[in-house]
Symmetry: none
Subunit: 424 residues, 2 copies
């Protein structure tokens, strides 16, 4: 591909009428942007088109001249409203021709997956290819991706389902896209913080912002607040990935020094991964007794591959009776203090620890809402206890937001308490 | 405004360089779409531009001819990178003139809010108005909105912060926009299906698609495949909300008749809400024993407010020992058939039912991956059993995708099995 212009400016077009409704967002473009930026390719525009050939063609036509690389996601399915192939072929003036290898592959896929009946005839649409396009294999679905060279420009058609798009994108980033990338690397790092509010984090970082602004290469910082976590996104563009990474390492270390133990991750790991790694490192087992989080803490812990190495078991003891039967919380204790109280959280943590034989027992009890709150204990009130051989720690929190958010924040605070205790 | 063309087709442009990074999504367009659809105005395209005057001008120019109404959000702030006014004024060929009333209002706002010092000179930018534009007051911020009539077209500039944009939009929807609305209502309904793949659902619906295409009012249909669920989105535009709803009721009923018991929701409810409502209706309690889903099924069940009415308890019995201790699965049974097997799923379901005293017991055991698969039992193999007073039903599934997806699909299939058994 020597001699071809580097791909510096990209546009991303998400295709799908559902993305023009009030309930769906295009999230594929975030993943695509991340991969492109890593290669030093800038995303200068994004667009969303419905499943309408003419509309999509107009969008593609409007963007194509302004960028080096235009990526579409979606609209490669087998049905009538999958129009991306047709729309793009029209814009770049190519005929659509059936690629029999693709047809054969789709047919084989139907047989291999034991799907009932033969391949529906409509799937043949997925084998239609604009003349001259390069086919990008799709190991996770029936529609292949397509790479079209149009003069110095590239149009790249990717499937919409994330589990098909992501691996295909990784392959391209390591191969065809990398070969056309400009010589600049853009690297991002995320510092994850919990237990602090956004404006405090922002204030603490002010002196660093000024330093990063003057640095060479410059470190760009953005703060993003999500429930239960604040993310500091740091970005550096440098002539090499190594140079960018070195500059980021220093910036991450400086931020971590300012924010202290509130930082739980600087390398992309989630809270449950950080906790899992700590437990493996120390050779510890954990067991959890959950009331208001309803299984979410166990589910997050077991989201991590290999979690059977440290996850002993979990109980979801929503009802008071279950708290007594499964982890031995005395009914009298619940009667005296209420189910949402520090003594009950402690009894849950100690009970599940004793019964499971795990090194750590966690008890979470709270009011997820929307009902069940009182003046004393409003919705969001949550008691969290962690029992270890050395004793039991208990804290009461008050979380805000709707039911799902209270559940998530409670699970986050419980995992964070485990993290702090285990890392000492 | 008599005589002016109704606004039927709209495009929404979000302005802001942060919306072109891998971590930010344009969510303003969802709110805008909802308001427009309610007025019968269709959103046919969305776009996102960075804070660059020329880029934004190109986006606006490309969209303006294709729609009746173009709405921008963002880029009306006081700083140099707030370029929406300049970009749009350029496209519609108007001079920017200072509106002294706006300047006075911003100045008063600074004083009223007790902000330190006088109004910074840069805020004067916010008083610049394309000649002939109508000014939309902003009670929640300093930048007013702008309404520009350009022939039959309208360009509407709204501020980016949601707390400024939303009230302004409400005002417009009740006033200026309503006056130009097409007098049509647009209503949406979603039919949710599980246990079928997209192309089979699509094929089964072909005759209906043709019927809907010819119907008056026309029913627009889009299929959306997500893991564990396929969504059929139906949209109708009709002279009144009532007429649209009646036509949708008929369409939903026709789709449900074709797809049969695979349809689990036609009114927006999630699978866990449907199952919860069924359990309440029949006065039944449920308890779950989860291995591969790791608490996700309990967490989904307890995501529903009021789930304490039917959720007895859950155990997350990842380890074999836990299966024996907590739900009485005989170790010999695990030895003979393996932990992922129908006999073990049955023993888990019956064990948790017996111990909890619930009417229904669910057992889920599978290989979530990425490791742990064998030739006989590849990753994704999952046995699901539901025990009731009438006996126990067990099924084996093979799910595809990464760990999180296998977990979700397994929880979905288990909830669906409960749904089918309870609804009889």
């Amino acid at each position: 591909m020597a001699g071809l212009k580097a791909l510096e400016r990209a546009a991303i077009v998400a295709v799908g009428s559902e993305l023009l409704t009030p309930s769906k967002l295009d999230t594929n473009s975030l993943v695509i942007t991340e991969e492109l930026n890593r290669l030093g390719i800038d995303v200068v525009a994004k667009a969303i088109s419905g499943d309408d050939r003419d509309e999509l063609a107009a969008v593609v036509r409007g963007l194509l001249d302004r960028v080096d690389l235009l990526i579409t996601s979606g609209g490669l399915g087998p049905t009538d409203d999958d129009v991306t192939r047709e729309a793009v072929a029209g814009v770049v003036n190519r005929a659509l021709v059936e690629d029999r290898e693709i047809t054969a592959r789709i047919r084989a896929r139907f047989i291999a997956r034991g799907l009932p009946g033969p391949m529906p005839e409509i799937n043949r649409r997925q084998a239609m290819v604009p003349a001259g396009a390069r086919v990008i294999p799709n190991p996770n679905g029936s529609a292949p991706g397509l790479w079209i060279d149009e003069g110095d420009h590239v149009v790249l058609l990717l499937p919409g389902p994330p589990r098909e798009l992501r691996p295909m994108l990784k392959e391209l980033a390591a191969g065809w896209l990398k070969a056309r990338a400009p010589g600049l690397a853009m690297v991002r790092r995320v510092v994850r913080v919990t237990g602090r509010i956004e404006s405090h984090v922002d204030e603490a970082l002010q002196p660093l912002y000024r330093e990063w602004e003057r640095a060479d290469p410059k470190v760009a910082a953005t703060i993003l607040a999500t429930f239960g976590s604040i993310e500091l996104h740091l970005t550096v563009r440098a002539p090499s990935e190594r140079a960018a990474a070195a500059s980021l390492d220093a910036a991450v270390a400086a931020a971590a020094a300012v924010l202290g133990s509130h930082v739980y991750s600087t390398d992309g790991r989630s809270m449950e991964e950080v906790v899992g790694d700590l437990l493996v490192e120390r050779g510890l087992h954990i067991a959890v007794a959950e009331s208001c989080t309803g299984g979410l803490m166990a589910s997050r812990l077991t989201d991590v591959p290999g979690s059977s190495r440290y996850f002993r078991y979990g109980v979801v003891v929503y009802a008071n009776e279950a708290k007594t039967t499964l982890v031995g919380v005395p009914a009298a204790l619940i009667g005296e203090h209420g189910a949402v109280s520090e003594p009950v959280a402690v009894a849950m943590a100690e009970g599940v620890r004793a019964r499971s034989g795990a090194d750590l027992g966690v008890g979470v009890t709270g009011i997820a809402g929307p009902t069940g709150g009182t003046t004393d204990k409003p919705v969001g009130t949550t008691a969290i206890a962690v029992a270890t051989a050395g004793g039991t720690t208990v804290r009461t929190f008050r979380f805000h937001g709707e039911r799902g958010l209270v559940k998530f924040q409670a699970s986050q605070a419980a995992l964070d308490l485990v993290r702090r205790l285990v890392s000492g």
